[in-house]
Amino acid sequence: MKKPVRPTVWLRLIAGAVLPAFREAAAARRAMAGDAKPGLRALLLPTARDLESEAVARAHTALGYGTALRGAVILGAHDPASRGVLAHTADGTARFIIPELGFDRWLRLERGALRGGRGEPPAPADVTLSFPRWRTALAALRGELDEMAALGTGDLVISGSLPLADHLNLVLQRMADYFPPSK
């Protein structure tokens, strides 16, 4: 159920999560081989047709999760719905991994406040969320994955504290309320 969004939070997300995503998208674009490089819009807000390109889809997946995790930190500080969730969540560290994309980030919750980063987290992860296949991660990012079924088939692996993963997922899902994925 979609909860109300706040313009002030949306502006903070633009500044703290989306603008850095543009910089990352530009870097990703520069790193792409060949002359027919996609536009930044295709990397950040791809259409279904854009995603037919594997290079675009892979880059978008990593950019999307990076943006969502940066956004979660902002939401955890300023979005009332997210703050309400985190207020009743035990402290802990979550690691997010998409091995095929070299994606390895973390979020750490301490006394209701989130921070995040890349690579090895500052404390052993209480829960690790891993997508063995990047295509599954893309489906989840676009809200097209039956996550409970994916957990049963091993397409999504959550190892550790499920409540922490569940609550952080609620915060991450708020990004879709502020920035609905394009179709």
Binding site: M1, A90, M148, A149, G152, G154, S161
Partner: protein
Amino acid sequence: MNPPAPENSHYAESLRLFARASRVIPGGIYGHTSPALTVPGKFPYFAARAEGGRYWDADGNEFLDLMCGYGPIVLGHHHPEVEAAAEKQRRDGDCFNHPTEATVLLAERLTALTGLGWAVLGKNGADMTTWAVQVAREFTGRKKILRVRGGYHGAHAWCSPGHGGIIPEDRAHIHAFPWNDLDALRDLLARHRGQVAALIASPYHHPAFGDSVLPAPGYWAAAEEACRRDGVLLISDDVRAGFRLHLGGSHQAFGFTPDLVCFSKALGNGHAISATVGKAELKVAASRVFLTGSFWQGAVAMRAALTTLEILERDDGIGRMRRLGERFAAGLRAGAEKHGLRVNCSGPPAIPFMSFANDAGWQRQRRFCAEMARRGVFLHPHHNWFLCAAHTEADIDGALASADAAFALVAAGET
């Protein structure tokens, strides 16, 4: 016990069925039996048959069943006397245009056992907890309901632990406080004085992803007194623990006096049935709250329930489960200590749970329960366990032998 089986082949048929299920069923398997809540790939997903204290999965693996269908199986799967009573009723008919005598007999039995004034019957726990909340609102004319944070009262919108499809209005008058926290309870009562219809709580706290917690000394007496002072009804959600701790309701084991008690799970030894039993003074209000379901007068489950209660009393099934549970908990503590591990054994002996100390991410717990499953002992890593009266001392000792091997692996930190 079964010897450890090679991983990835042990549950091949379960995994095949799940792949099919996930194409046609949201989540593949939904709710509390979802593999997502265990350790996916390391537990069976689908069952095939059961007998007594054991069951067999879709791959033919045999398990000592220490979850008992998440509680309903209290005498053992396919108990011959219960099934004979059910079968006799099945031959006479189950779903009629009217209730049968079995409805009256079961209501009489439940009121006699609990000492309360009346009973109604349904099919699921949430049917009853939701209806009991309505009865409390009807009786008091008040809106608000207090509950314990992390408590489970079913999958209806006002209380579901899920997130999807819930709107804020569903819970606008539901207020939660931490278990055993009398100050928080009194604070809520003071903040909403004259508006609270009921406090609903399980007789002891049995959260998922946490140890079970018994009421602190004096907790229930003080909570009851605080509610009485404000005209707030007390609803005991005894769906999970009912008929494993005391035949008259778990509140009798913990020494408090609820106005309404909800039962289900163990009542029918696996047959779908639930009940709410209430104080006589609430009977008129109860009569005003509409209650029905197409299958709720099913006589088969009521005959099964009558027989289950009779056998539990005749054979002291509750005493037997308690003794087995004490043996199990003592053995787990000793086994863990032998391997240098610290564990918390919590909950009443008949509804035990064990977790590892310093295991915030539940990694040791998941490893331990997965190893137990490989050895033919079905335990859940994140949900309390259940014993039944069909378990034997040899079953418990066998489980402890498996635990010894599982503890060794956990202690070695092998993954």
